[in-house]
């Protein structure tokens, strides 16, 4: 088997951090070299998961006001805010060079970032198939996909995270939903800065390269993109940011805001509503394994719901309506 080509791009414009791996995947065949790309964006941007509806996730006006470009990737997972405080690793392999079982694809590709973090003395673990956690909190976003003959796994390591920017661009059904989401995000995410790690991006990049060589059990060969690959990436970038592509999966002219938001494998924010004894009750819920951890209730007409909010903690989300008594 050929050595894995390693392309270390450093800080590059946002389009390159999405378009290059798509272009390499499109061109994958029996003769192509497996490639790992390491990079980070030099400016912030937003990235939408393949199956998400743009207007349900992002507030287009707020994205525009902040000057944040949006790309849709052909990989799974949720919407993300990405910036220069995150290192990206992108594995683009012929699908026959990675395991068949999805959980094994993740464990083989994500062993390197996990070992990198461990190499820095952190208690990193791969949990719930594809979540990299340190001290039980998520320190990376991951995703993957199969494009033509390529199997792709991508992820990052968070040095710092702009919680304010991430939460400001969400299209939420109700202000309390955003409030709970912000709180959950702060509690469930962890960064190198939070961990007071005095380590440079270059050091982490070097550790990632060593770790990929070890975990993949194959030689890594420093390489560059060919002119044809650059050209293909430029074409991909236009597609990933095109209005038609961003509008994928939109089924009506005014999509509803999201009602479920995944913060991590064990933290979801959900919105629900019910009519009850003359009150229109709207609830934003923070769930862990479908159990309510925290809830904010509001109603029309207004009323103090603090007693009910307390009572709903620890109850299954599916049972919340039955557990409210007026």
């Amino acid at each position: 088997m050929k050595p894995i080509r390693l392309i270390n791009l450093g800080a590059v414009p946002p389009w390159q951090t999405q378009a290059i791996y798509h272009a390499l995947a499109e061109r994958m065949d029996d003769e192509a070299q497996d490639t790992i790309v390491l990079c980070r964006p030099n400016e912030p941007y937003l990235c939408l998961g393949y199956h998400q509806v743009f207007e349900s996730i992002f507030d287009p006006a707020e994205c525009a006001r902040r000057g944040l470009p949006v790309y849709r990737r052909r990989l799974g997972g949720g919407a993300t805010y990405l910036d220069e405080n995150q290192i990206f690793y992108q594995c683009i392999f012929h699908h026959t060079h990675l395991p068949v079982m999805l959980k094994d694809i993740y464990s083989s590709a994500l062993a390197a970032p996990v070992n990198t973090l461990r190499g820095l003395g952190l208690s990193a673990e791969l949990r719930e198939t594809n979540e990299i956690e340190v001290n039980g909190r998520r320190i990376a976003g991951t995703g993957g996909g199969r494009i033509e003959d390529a199997a792709i796994v991508v992820g990052n390591i968070l040095f710092d995270f702009d919680y304010e920017a991430m939460t400001a661009v969400w299209q939420t059904p109700w202000p309390s939903f955003r409030l709970l989401a912000q709180k959950a995000l702060h509690q469930r995410i962890i960064t190198m800065k939070d961990l007071a790690m005095n380590v440079s991006m270059e050091q982490v990049t070097d550790l990632l390269i060593e770790s990929f060589a070890t975990s993949m059990g194959r030689e890594l060969e420093l390489g560059e993109l060919t002119p044809e690959e650059w050209q293909a990436a430029e074409e991909e970038a236009k597609e990933l940011a095109s209005p038609d592509y961003l509008a994928l999966h939109k089924t009506n002219s005014s999509p509803e805001p999201m009602r479920t938001l995944k913060i991590s494998a064990r933290a979801f924010i959900r919105y629900d509503e019910v009519q009850m004894d003359g009150y229109g009750v709207r609830g934003s819920f923070w769930l862990s394994d479908d159990v309510i951890q925290e809830v904010i209730l509001q109603s029309t007409p207004e009323r103090d719901w603090s007693f009910e909010e307390e009572k709903l903690r620890g109850i299954l989300f599916s049972d919340w309506k039955e557990n409210i008594e007026l």
Binding site: G49, Y50, H51, R74, L75, G76, G77, G78, T96, L98, P99, V100, M101, L102, K103, D104, I105, Y106, T129, N130, T142, G143, G144, G145, R146, H249
Partner: protein, 155 residues
């Protein structure tokens, strides 16, 4: 032979009914309706065992013409996307919106309510001959499990 081929991955037991055809590489099943001449398409248990629980399914609308090997839609499981490729050529005459709204149906009722599309085939005789039939089923399941083990590190 038994009308269902059963296999285990780890401790989980899966089944593959022998009353239909299977795509050799894409793990899609195809069931021919002798009354309408149409073919119902779904995903088989071996393919689903590799993926786990589906989170999203999107399907091409009725009226879409597909060639064998082209995309019928897409899926997502554990934040990983992939194409649902057609095992036959023809025109999609119906899609199962229930699976789009509730992808878990594909995992839970794989060979019944978890179907994906109905296709009016344009070359059923030739293309079904290239799929796995009832006689080939046991050997094909064994060879796929062997491949999963070699490539996939299943226990």
């Amino acid at each position: 032979m038994s009308n269902t081929q059963e296999f285990k991955i780890g401790t989980d037991l899966y089944s593959i009914p022998a009353d239909r055809f299977y795509g050799r590489e894409n793990h899609m099943w195809a069931s021919f309706d002798h009354v309408t001449g149409n073919v119902t398409i779904g995903m088989d248990a071996l393919g689903l065992a590799a993926l786990g629980d589906l989170a999203y399914v999107s399907l091409q609308p009725a009226g879409t013409k597909v060639e064998r090997g082209e995309s019928l839609g897409t899926l997502e499981a554990a934040k990983m996307t992939g194409d649902l490729t057609s095992p036959i050529s023809g025109e999609i005459v119906e899609r199962n919106d229930l699976t789009v709204r509730n992808p878990a149906l594909v995992n839970q009722e794989t060979y019944t309510n978890g179907w994906l599309v109905v296709i009016k085939p344009s070359n059923w005789e030739n293309e079904s001959a290239q799929m796995v039939n009832v006689d080939e089923l046991p050997a094909w399941v064994d060879s796929e499990l062997k491949r999963y083990r070699q490539q996939g590190w299943i226990d």
